[in-house]
Amino acid sequence: MSTPASVTADVTAEQALAVDLTSPERAHSRVWVRLRTHPSAVVGVVIFALYVLASMVGPLIFRYDPIHQNLSDAFLPSSAAHPLGTDEYGRDELVRLLYGARYTLVLGFAAVAIGVGIGLPLGAVSGFLGGWVDLGSQRVTDVLLAFPNILLALALVASLGVGLQNVIIAVGITSIPIFVRLVRASALSVRELPYVEAGRALGVPSSIVLFRHVVPNSLAPVIVQASLQLGAAILIAAGLGFLGLGVQAPTPEWGSMLGASRNYIFSDPNLATFPGLAIFGAVLAFNLLGDGLRDALDPRLK
């Protein structure tokens, strides 16, 4: 009772295909493989990992105080003791950059967490329920989107005041509308699918349909956008710092360091070069990762 080899092979291929289509683990591993082999995603992750590592380990290796002033050491050129030299108050530039990485990462992640945390549920409910809820939340989103880019964050900081916490709130609020729009669009498309209708017909409560089917279905674009938004949030937060309206001196935040360096741009341009390069690298990392995630999660968008 032996089965011809070719038939067995066919059956296995079919089974494999069936498993591939239904198993979420397989889908995840496919995404993972695409991401791992995507050059820009790899570069993005490597830069991001270096930043995290530098912000955690760096201050343990270079044991200077990032805040304490020592005016006799001001504007030292780079040397073995101070690889990137010192700033106008004699503080080690490299140590300030390393501590600055912590602020930048915290600012970026916290602001995007606010954006996703409020935007995702609002968009899901808005798209799924429709009607007045949708109309109301969409008009509010319209208004928030009508402020050009950094302007809403500036207006919020002008009212709330400067400082780390207020910058996070301001940049966080500016990131909300994009997530509302994204999740709403995907909720609208999922709402009409047969399995959601079936769930409803079976009497599954709306809240369960919402969180078990609508939200997970919108996660792919949200993850992509979150990565890109991290870059945007870092740019805006550092921009506020640059204008003197963000995290305040003497905190070693890259934007405010860059802002302070403007006064010495003719005598010591290095003080402007490195914080800017650091911001550029962080934003580049999240943009590259976002591109890679988009191609890996949704090849149609390529």
């Binding site: 208004v143 204008l243 934003v283 943009n287």
Partner: protein, 307 residues
């Protein structure tokens, strides 16, 4: 087309109203009494009460809100607490500078971005494509405030070929601010043009055009680019918002006397009527540009008007 325009404008009115409301209520979040801030720490209680009356701060909030909206309808944005001039006048003297900078940057970004995007799409997966695509990601990741400083260091400090700040050298003064502001948009337009062109170049009508013997340039421009224009136009419209926001930073770097710099100075001196005025004006400008974009969109693709 006219019906479409009217409908678009009507839809925008509640948004403008919403923006005005947000701008008004943001002021109420301000810590401290604006009258005390304006009067200074040594002012007598009578002087403070006087300023409160002048600014209408002694009235209940809803009344202040209504008179704020009433003023807006008449083009009255209040009085600058710093200079004593009407806000609308402060903005009017600076708006042309911002418009000049934003338009110059948009033109540069579109010309370079569309050209590079088409070049990259037609050379897909070559070294040229890789170079252009990488350059575009670099462009959208570049902080304008850093780019501006670096351009000053190179072109104004080292080579001394262009002025570092101000507007007194005519076109030469415009070069560095324009390049600084344009780079981000240039990157986005390049990316959008490349992907829109790639999508169109794979379609049947392009193959047909090639098969019937149309020249390479004609296929690219008349058949492919024209059909790829829709998403590109949308991106360009959205760029304006980014340019207006970026202008705030760029103007601050190059001491460019536009509304962006006015905004930053006013936040610094707590001149809230001016802050409100500038934020409102830039948002309304952005909403208007979006309507114009939609109209161009409807013109390029007549199907949109009827949907």
């Amino acid at each position: 087309m006219l019906t479409y325009l009217v409908r678009r404008v009507l839809v925008a009115i509640p948004t403008v109203f919403g923006v005005a409301t947000v701008v008004f209520f943001l002021r109420t979040l301000l810590p401290g009494d604006p009258a005390i801030i304006i009067a200074g720490p040594q002012a007598t209680p009578e002087a403070i009460a006087n300023i409160r009356r002048q600014l209408g701060l002694d009235q209940p909030l809803w009344q202040q809100y209504l008179s704020f909206l009433g003023g807006l309808v008449h083009g009255d944005l209040g009085i600058s607490t710093r200079t004593g001039q009407p806000v609308i006048q402060e903005i009017a003297t600076r708006a042309p500078y911002t418009a000049q900078l934003a338009v110059a940057s948009l033109v540069l970004a579109v010309l370079v971005g569309v050209t590079l995007g088409v070049l990259a799409a037609t050379r897909r997966s070559t070294v040229g494509d890789l170079g252009i695509s990488s350059g575009a990601v670099f462009g959208v990741s570049m902080p304008v405030y850093w780019l501006g400083l670096m351009l000053i260091v190179v072109f104004a400090v080292r080579f001394r070929v262009l002025p570092a700040a101000g507007t007194d050298q005519g076109l030469a003064s415009l070069v560095l601010p324009t390049v600084t502001l344009a780079l981000f948009s240039m990157g986005l337009v390049t990316r959008q043009t490349r992907s829109a062109m790639l999508e169109v170049l794979g379609q049947d009508f392009v193959r047909t055009a090639r098969a019937k013997g149309a020249g390479r340039r004609a296929v690219l421009i008349r058949h492919a680019l024209r059909n790829a224009l829709l998403p590109i136009v949308t991106t360009i419209g959205l760029q304006f918002g980014i340019l207006l926001g970026g202008a705030v930073l760029t103007e601050s770097i190059f001491a460019w006397p536009g509304v962006g710099r006015l905004l930053v100075d006013s936040i610094g001196s707590r001149d809230y009527p001016v802050v409100q005025g500038v934020v409102l004006l830039l948002s309304v400008a952005f909403i208007t540009i979006n309507i114009v974009t939609d109209l161009i969109y409807a013109y390029v693709d007549p199907r949109i008007r009827y949907s």
